[in-house]
Amino acid sequence: MKSALGYLTLTKLKNQIKDLLRSPAKLVYVVGMAALLVFSVLGRSGQELEEPLPMYMLTAILALFYSFMFLLVLATGGNSAKTPMFTLSDVTMLFPAPLHPHRVLAYGLLRQLGLSLVMALVLVFQYGWLQVLFGITWQDMALIILGFAICIFLAAFCSMAIYVRSSGKENATGVLRVCICAATVAYLLWALWMCREQVLPLLSGGKDYMPAVEAGARLFSSFPGLLFPVSGWTAGIVGGLLSGDTALLLGGVGLCVLLAVALSLLVATSKNNYYEDVLETAEVAQSNVTAQKEGKVQEIVPKNVKVGKTGLGKGWGASALYYKHRVENRRAGVFLLSNMSLLFLAITLLVSFGMSRSMDGDVGAALAATFAMGTYMQIFSEALGRFNRELIKPYIYLMPEPPLKKLLYAIQETLLADCIEAVALFIPVGFIVGAGPVDVALCIAARISFALLFTAGNVLVERVFGMVSSKVLVMFFYVLALLVLSVPGIAAGVAAMAVLPESFGMAGLFLGMVVVNIPVSVLVLYLCRNLLQYAELNGR
């Protein structure tokens, strides 16, 4: 008879494959992803540079990317709710069973390695540009993926060792986190110091970035630059294999093996067991899985919420929804704009900076390009408002108010935040690209019109596809609906730009969008006015 853990691993794997074959939607998804992979590879073949970039540059890119992922895994405890080392069924069935904790740990680590490999498969989509720039082969890509998986696996193992060793010591985890942050900052400062001769000219107005890039690449592709724990070592292994540098390869392998042995000893000799540490994550992961099965939107609620002033204070009938959303936003730490909106805002500002430099003084083109990028990101930020979360509770359906009125009050908070976001984004963008006040004002109006359009699209998707339980499918329909709804506005903008004299610049484009997007949005909202008549909660 096989061991229990062996039986469990094999049976789960076997059943996952069976489930995939039995579920047409999952099968289509996997086949679609495979087709995309093939397309991304074939679509680029034959476009390789005549002289590929040197391999040390790729090693440096890998070192930085692996480091980012390594720190991300450490920050989430290596046992994040999305990819937990143990599921709740593992916790409830394996932990109380008469199995040695080390064997259970080995099972969890193996599972984590498998998950890391699956996650790493996403990197295959980067094969196209890597092949063009560095002329890598499929075997090289496999090495990059393997290196990534080892990095993530060791990061999770590090995190577990930290938890096991610091369990019960209240400040230890905090101190360790500070140490890791300090080490990272020190490493970056050291790298800057090493490249100071190439970096300093840039700070005094120099425009030639290449010497700094090359110096940085050389530093992060050789020892001691690759000594940053785990990510540097794994990048060293991959870089060593790709460039045939045996010293780099052996150094990386040796350090990784030493670390794995040290971590095993740390965990094995600890008096604390790790069960308590993984229990909470397993429970959170389980509630995420349940919510995902039910197609529900999980709200990420801060662990420590400051209650502050209590009471809604205002609202009567349907408007109580809006005032409730304001209280919830305050407790969630959202001040005017959500963290996601702020992140997108920062990215768009960076893009505008890049555009203003690359468009050779064409202000209109830079503004339009920044607007396009901002609108693309708006597609994703729009779905994160309180409206979608409100739909998973029964109260909005039970309220004795007309459905359209409830709908309008439920999206009010999102729309107001969108207006603030539009102003906060495009006034600085206007300064960066050097646009005039009229262009900026029209750009803000166009942004708000797209916010209204995307909110209407969101309502439309809930109205038409609200019963679809697959989150991936709903997201697909959402993006598709928004693209279709955007077409009339974009067409009107392009037409207006073509008709108006050239002196109007991009004003026609933005004006056309505003004039068409707003009536389209109002029409969609009116057609979906009965969304809140029924929940069909079972189907959600």
Binding site: V307, A320, K324, P394, Y534, A535
Partner: protein, 232 residues
């Protein structure tokens, strides 16, 4: 008065409720019994207007999806539905505002009865499952509904809350409200039900009216119908 006529609910090819008709009169307590998957929660969600269906459901003469009907309806879901970022008191303020109800004193009485008053400043996410269920009950009752629907209301409650909730059932009945309770805990409703409906496979397998003689044991009736066994 709650009136259900010819309600059918299908999920693709699965018929969850097949042509269901029944009524719970004013001042009556109706019970829905049946094994898991019999369709009890589905008919309750149809009554509360959360699911689309064919047929007709009226609450005191108004179609169940109308604002007039919703104003008179209280619904306690099987899984407690609370907002993570609202305090206990804010939940009730929200419901009072949404239903345009001024009476704060009644809300306070409900919270005190279910031992939640001292937790009034706690956030929804900080409550245990049992306390969330109590809060759900308060939210459903604070606007004094004329028709109250309870889906497995006793699950997760402590003995004190169960005792209070039973008292609330009786008070609703005395006040002339129509009460519908879906439950597996047969003994919890043994002494005050008026109409018992036993569901199997999306249909009503039996309906019994309590004649007050005490001769009808719900548990016997349930097993007799669901398992085909002999009554004691």
């Amino acid at each position: 008065m709650l009136s259900i006529s010819g309600v059918t609910k299908k999920y693709r090819k699965t018929v969850a409720n097949d042509n269901i008709s029944f009524a719970v009169g004013d001042g009556q307590i109706g019970i829905l019994l049946g094994p898991n998957g019999a369709g009890k929660s589905t008919i309750i969600k149809c009554i509360t207007g959360l699911l689309r269906f064919t047929g007709r459901i009226e609450i005191n003469g108004a179609v169940n999806t109308s604002s007039e009907a919703k104003r008179q309806l209280g619904y306690i879901p099987e899984m407690p539905a609370v907002y993570d970022l609202l305090t206990v008191e804010e939940h009730l303020e929200f419901i009072r505002r949404a239903y345009k109800v001024e009476d704060e004193a009644y809300t306070r009485r409900l919270l005190e009865r279910l031992e939640l008053w001292d937790k009034k400043d706690k956030l929804g996410k900080e409550l245990s499952k049992g306390m969330q269920q109590k809060l759900s009950i308060c939210c459903a009752l604070c606007h004094r509904p004329r028709v109250a629907i309870f889906d497995e209301p006793l699950v997760g409650l402590d003995p004190h809350a169960i005792k209070e909730l039973k008292a609330i059932f009786r008070e609703l009945k005395q006040d002339g409200a129509s009460v519908l309770i879906s439950t597996h805990m047969l003994d919890s409703v043994e002494d005050y039900w008026d109409v018992a409906n036993i569901m199997i496979g999306g249909r009503f397998a039996a309906t019994r009216v309590n004649d007050g003689s005490g001769s009808q044991d719900l548990e016997d009736l349930f097993f007799q119908i669901t398992e085909g066994g002999d009554a004691k």
